[in-house]
Every structure is written in C-alpha cells, then in structure tokens.
C-alpha cells in the first residue's frame, strides 16, 4: 500500500483510491441488483396483509404462511365448521385456520417444480453431452463443410426461438409431443445445443492435440484418449456451458406457457397462476419464486470457480 503511493503508475497496479472506487462501484451495483431479490425473499415470509401494506413494511413478523399456501390448496369454511374439526393436528393447519380456511389437499406446485427439474437438467445434460461430442469432432476431425455447418448451427440462434413458436406448436401437436417432458427436453436441447457446440469448441481448441497424440502413441484408443485426457481438461468449459444451458432452460417462459398446460408444465408458467387462486396471494408467489431461484443459485455457487474460468474463454492458461 505504502509502495503504491510512491511508485509510478504501472499497468495492473491499483492505487488505494482506485481500489476504493472500484469497491464502491461493485457494492453499489450489487445493491441495485440485490434489492428486488431480497424483496422477493422477504415477501415470501410476510403475511398476505403485510405483503400489500402501504407504505411497504420492511420490518414485519415473519410467517411461513406463503410457503404453506404455495404447497396446499385450501377452501374457506365457516367458523362453526372449523370449530367442529377439533384442534389442528399440525402447525400448518393452525396457520391456515387463522384465515378461516382448511387444507383440502396439496397444490400442484411440487409437481410443476419436479417438471422444471426434470426438463431443465435433462435438456442441459443432453445439450452439453451432444455439444461436447460435436465440439470435439469439429475441433479435431476433418468434417466436410465444417465452416458451413458451424455457421448453420450458429444461425439457429440468429432469431428469437419464439419466432418459430407456431410451427413448433403445430408440429408438436401432430407428433404428440405437446405437454410432454420429452417434448420440452428436446425443444430446450435444440435451442441450447448451438450455444454448447460453440462454447465447447473454443475449449477443445485450447487443448493441444499433443495430449491425445501422446496417449494414442502410449497405446490408448482415440476414445480412451478423449475420456482420460481431453474430458478432464474440459471440466471448466463443461461447467460454464452447463450453467448457461440450465439458466436458459430453467427460466424459459414463453414456450412453456404455449406448449405445456398440465402434466409437463414447468414452474415459470405456473407461478403466476398462483395469484389467481384465492385472491392476490403475493407471499405464495414470492415463496414460489424464491424456491425457483434456489437451484440456479446453488448450481452457480458450487461451480463458481469453474464458471469464472469458463467465461474468460480460456484466455488465461493456468
């Protein structure tokens, strides 16, 4: 620190003032982006009256009512009827009865959430799997019309996917893929695979061929060399690509709304529907949103080191 004040400015050496400014900017940006998220998480723990109070309540008594409402369906009953049921058996029944309601069964949220997990992770796995093989082939083999094929793959992303929503809707209806998990997995895979191929090809290109050549000379087959030598070195790239693919598949709303309605519906089109069930239940929506955000956050935090290396596109070699 003291050295910095006397030394001449050089590339890569930050002054204390510069560091403070950078820190202020980062903290400021973080606050701005975090506020809506924090608000959502907090709203999930508010009671319905607190959630719509004006001026908005920052300090409130936390309750799990939103989460209970999210996972249950309830019906309004007379006090006499509720009285006749006897004392509540569980803490969540007790919560619900305060609002003159009884739980009539589980909501569809858990099922929709499962759909999101199956479709999100399924399509991510498939896109990364296909992308890895294709990227390796494009990087290492003499593929006829390689450049044209790569451009074609890229060109599938040159318009918003939703532009082809109607043809896909009709196609899916004919093929019987509407409202099926398989249909959604295939769709998200098709959208993601171009990104995966291009991202991963960059990573494979970075790995010198000499590694595989050395393995092949040492008595391994090409596939074994790929498995033992190339794949371990692609880990960072695969992790980064998987996160990008998962974020898209997980958050996708328009196709999910259009193509799924029942069995294969994912969480994004379902969460807004909660609003309509028994009044404006903002805490339940907020609770659903919070739970919906969780997997991406966990996935990103677990893989954050890989991700950081991944998004620099291998520009810095270890």
């Amino acid at each position: 620190m003291s050295r910095a004040s006397t030394a001449a400015h050089s590339v890569g050496e930050a002054t204390p003032a510069g560091k403070a400014l950078a820190a202020a900017l980062v903290i400021g940006y973080a606050l701005i982006t975090m506020v809506p998220l924090v608000w959502i998480v907090l709203t999930g723990f508010k009671s319905p009256p607190d959630s719509i109070a004006y001026p908005p309540k920052v300090v409130f008594e936390p309750t799990l009512e939103g989460y209970v409402n999210l996972f249950t369906t309830r019906s309004r009953q007379t006090e006499a009827y509720i009285e006749s049921l006897g004392p509540p058996q569980t803490w969540y029944e007790e919560l619900v009865r305060k609002r003159n309601m009884v739980i009539t069964g589980p909501s569809r949220f858990a099922g929709r959430y499962m759909n999101s997990i199956i479709i999100g992770f399924g399509s991510t796995f498939l896109a990364v799997f296909l992308g890895t093989l294709a990227a390796y082939a494009f990087s290492r083999f003499k593929v006829p019309l390689k450049d044209d094929l790569l451009f074609f793959i890229l060109s599938t992303r040159m318009m918003p996917p939703i532009a082809v929503a109607i043809p896909i809707y009709l196609m899916y209806r004919t093929l019987g893929l509407s409202d099926t998990a398989l249909g959604m997995i295939l769709l998200y895979t098709a959208v993601n695979v171009s990104l995966a191929v291009w991202l991963l090809k960059g990573f494979v290109d970075e790995i010198p061929r000499e590694y595989e050549e050395a393995a092949v000379i040492d008595g391994y087959t090409r596939l074994q060399a790929f498995w033992k030598v190339v794949l371990p070195q692609m880990r960072a790239g695969i992790a980064a690509t998987a996160i990008f693919c998962l974020i898209f598949a997980w958050n996708e709303y328009a196709f999910a709304l259009l193509l799924t309605s029942g069995t294969a519906q994912t969480a994004p089109p379902f969460i807004p529907i909660i609003i309509g069930e028994g009044g404006l239940d903002w805490p339940a929506v907020a609770a659903g949103t919070t739970l919906f955000l969780l997997p991406i956050v966990v996935f990103t935090v677990v893989l954050r080191n890989q991700l950081l290396r991944g998004i620099t596109f291998g520009a810095v070699r270890k």
């Binding site: 000499e210 050395a214 000379i217 040492d218 008595g219 391994y220």
Partner: protein, 363 residues
C-alpha cells in the same frame, strides 16, 4: 529395441511437400539425429514413424514388420514432444504410469510402481512424484516427459526437439544425461533438432534434412569434415563455415575444375600480421578486423576482406585488436571446394574422400 527402416517415404500437405523420398535405416541401439532448420520436415518424419501421419508413398518397417498402415498404438514407439506432453490433471507419478496403464499392456500394480520409481530415480525426480505436473519447473517437466517415454520399453524412442525449450545450462545437463541413458539402456533413438551442438554431441549418425529431403547421412565427424554440400556444411559448426568465392584465397591444393565457392571452417582460418604470407604463389587475403568477441574458451574474430566477411577462431590471448589490418590464410588441407550448385568437389582425385552423395536439392 529394434531396427527401424524408412524406405522412400514421402508426405505432402496440400501443395507443400513436407517429406520427400526419405530413406534411412536406424540400427538397433543407434542414436540417429535428424538435423535441419524449421520446415525441413524433421517433425513430420517423426510423426510418420509414430503413425500420427500416413505417408503418401514409401514404407516404414519396425523390427521387420511393415507398420506403414498400422495405428500408433500398434507400433510400440514412444514419442517425446517438444512441449505440452504432460497431462496437467495428473500428478508426476500418474503421468509416468499412464503409458503403463494402457489397455493393451496389462501390467500389475506393483510392476507399474517398480518401473515408475526406477525411472524417476534415473531422472532424479523421485522427490516430485506427488506433485501435479503443472507445479514443475521447465527442466523437471521435460525430464518427466522423457521419463514417460522411458518407462515403456518401446521399439524406438522418437524425440522431437525435447531440449529446445530449456535454458542453456539445463540443456547441457540433459544432453549428457540423455546420451548416458541411451548407452545404459541400449536404446534406439530417432532424435530431431535444429541445434547442431545436440546433433554433434549425441548422435551416432546425423541425417541432414533440406526441404524434406535427406541430403546426407553419416557420423557427426564425417558430416562435419566432409559435408556433401554447402547446405550440409552450414548445418554443423558454430560459428558457421566461411564461404568465399573461388580464387579469393591461396590454397595449398589446386582448386578442382568447376569450383565456385571455397569453404573454410573458422577454426581453420589463420590470421597473420600485415607482412605475413609472403612467398606464396598467391598472396594471402588482406583484411581488417571488424569485431573481436571474447567467449572465454575461444575468441571469434570477424575480419572484413575484399572477398567478404570471414570469421576466425583465434587464440584467446592473441594480440588481435579491432581495426587492425590482418592477412587471412587457411590451414593447409582444410579448404573445402564447392561447385556452383552447392555440391562439394573432391580436392584431389587421389587423396580426398569422394563426395558422399549426389546432391539434387540444395537450398
């Protein structure tokens, strides 16, 4: 260990001929060095032997078996790359064990362990076995790299400039070490380099490559003393051989007919004071000292003459000073004669060795 035989091997990449009609036999336990500048086809020749490239013509035989169409794994060769050959996600131990764990080899764990430790000891890297490959210094990395070739007992070791990325001191150490290991193991090695020092010190036989063509093969001394051409003469010796136009220097032997260029190794150049060299049939070449480089063991003197610059190795304690007028002469019997096409001409038909090979393609 076995003999390796290349017969008329050629390889083209598009319009570029990388290797043209190369024929060479590497004997059992022989250390052959292919010498040539960048782009001469050295690495391609190695890759052809390893099976990483398929020749367009010719055949490659290892231990009597034609391997020309066999995949690399079936050839049982080991290759040391110039760089990048260690797997960064493995430790040194795992890197050394990797070739032994190949599916076809089926070695027991204790046997793998024994061999890895033996080689690590030989290369003095036992202490580093637990390190990740990325945590090594350049010299250690290249030692592990060489070790990875040595743990196997392949028919032939192929080495592609394995020392070129190391610093001078390390290069010198590894050079002697490599030669010692080769002798101890009785290994057959095909080694590729552009470094004439490596070629001179390690090779049993040198092959000089020019634009994909093998222009001369022979023991280092023979190639040095009787180069087939100007090109071959320039590949060996540092400082490089002096080339002067025919007739510019007094020679004790008559120039053979057709001589266009005279070649004199710097160590054969005699510098005398301005008055020396009198009484010869042709006067010595007069010149002026341009620079004097004291390198410790030797002193390189650059003399400017009417025929062009001449480099001479002088006595370290000699009185030569810059700007001093000198006369340039050649040690008797040392001048090499070259024809206009670069071919070396025999000095006198009776006594001198005949030119080794017919030259056709000289850079």
């Amino acid at each position: 260990m076995a003999e390796v035989d290349l017969a008329g091997v050629s390889k083209r990449f598009g319009d570029i001929t990388a290797v043209a009609d190369v024929s060479v036999r590497i004997g059992d336990a022989e250390f052959v060095v292919l010498l040539g500048p960048t782009g001469a086809g050295k690495t391609t020749t190695l890759r052809l032997v390893a099976g990483l490239e398929q020749p367009d013509a010719g055949s490659i035989t290892i231990a009597g078996t034609d391997v020309t169409r066999l995949p690399p794994a079936a050839r049982d060769v080991a290759l040391v790359f110039q760089q990048y050959s260690l797997y960064p996600h493995y430790t040194v131990y795992e890197n050394l064990a990797f070739p032994l764990k190949a599916p076809g080899r089926r070695l027991s764990k204790p046997e793998i362990d024994r061999r890895v430790r033996h080689i690590a000891e030989m290369l003095r890297i036992e202490a580093k076995l637990g390190n990740r490959a990325t945590q090594l210094s350049g010299g250690e990395m290249q030692r592990v790299s060489i070790g990875r070739a040595l743990v196997r007992e392949p028919t032939i070791y192929l080495m592609d400039e394995p020392l070129s990325s190391l610093d001078a001191k390390l290069r010198e150490d590894l050079r002697t070490e490599l030669k010692r290991i080769q002798r101890d193991l009785g290994a057959t090695i095909l080694y590729v380099t552009h470094d004439q020092l490596e070629a001179m010190t390690m090779a049993d036989r040198i092959g000089v490559l020019a634009a994909g063509r093998l222009v001369q093969t022979g023991p280092p001394r023979t190639v040095y003393e009787a180069p087939a051409s100007i090109y071959a003469a320039q590949r060996l010796g540092s400082p490089q051989i002096n080339l002067l136009p025919a007739g510019s220097l007094a020679t004790d032997r008559p120039e053979p007919p057709g001589t266009a260029t005279l070649g004199i190794r710097p160590e054969d150049v005699r510098l005398t004071g301005p008055m020396g060299g009198a009484g010869q049939e042709r006067p010595d070449l007069p010149g002026r000292v341009l620079t004097v480089e004291h390198l410790g063991v030797e002193t390189v003197v650059l003399v400017e003459t009417a025929a062009g610059p001449v480099r001479a190795l002088a006595d370290a304690h000699g009185p030569v000073a810059e700007d001093q007028p000198v006369r340039v002469a050649a040690r008797p019997g040392s001048v090499l004669f070259f024809a206009a096409d670069g071919r070396r001409l025999a000095a006198t038909p009776a006594s001198a060795p005949a030119a080794l090979e017919e030259m056709s393609d000289v850079a």
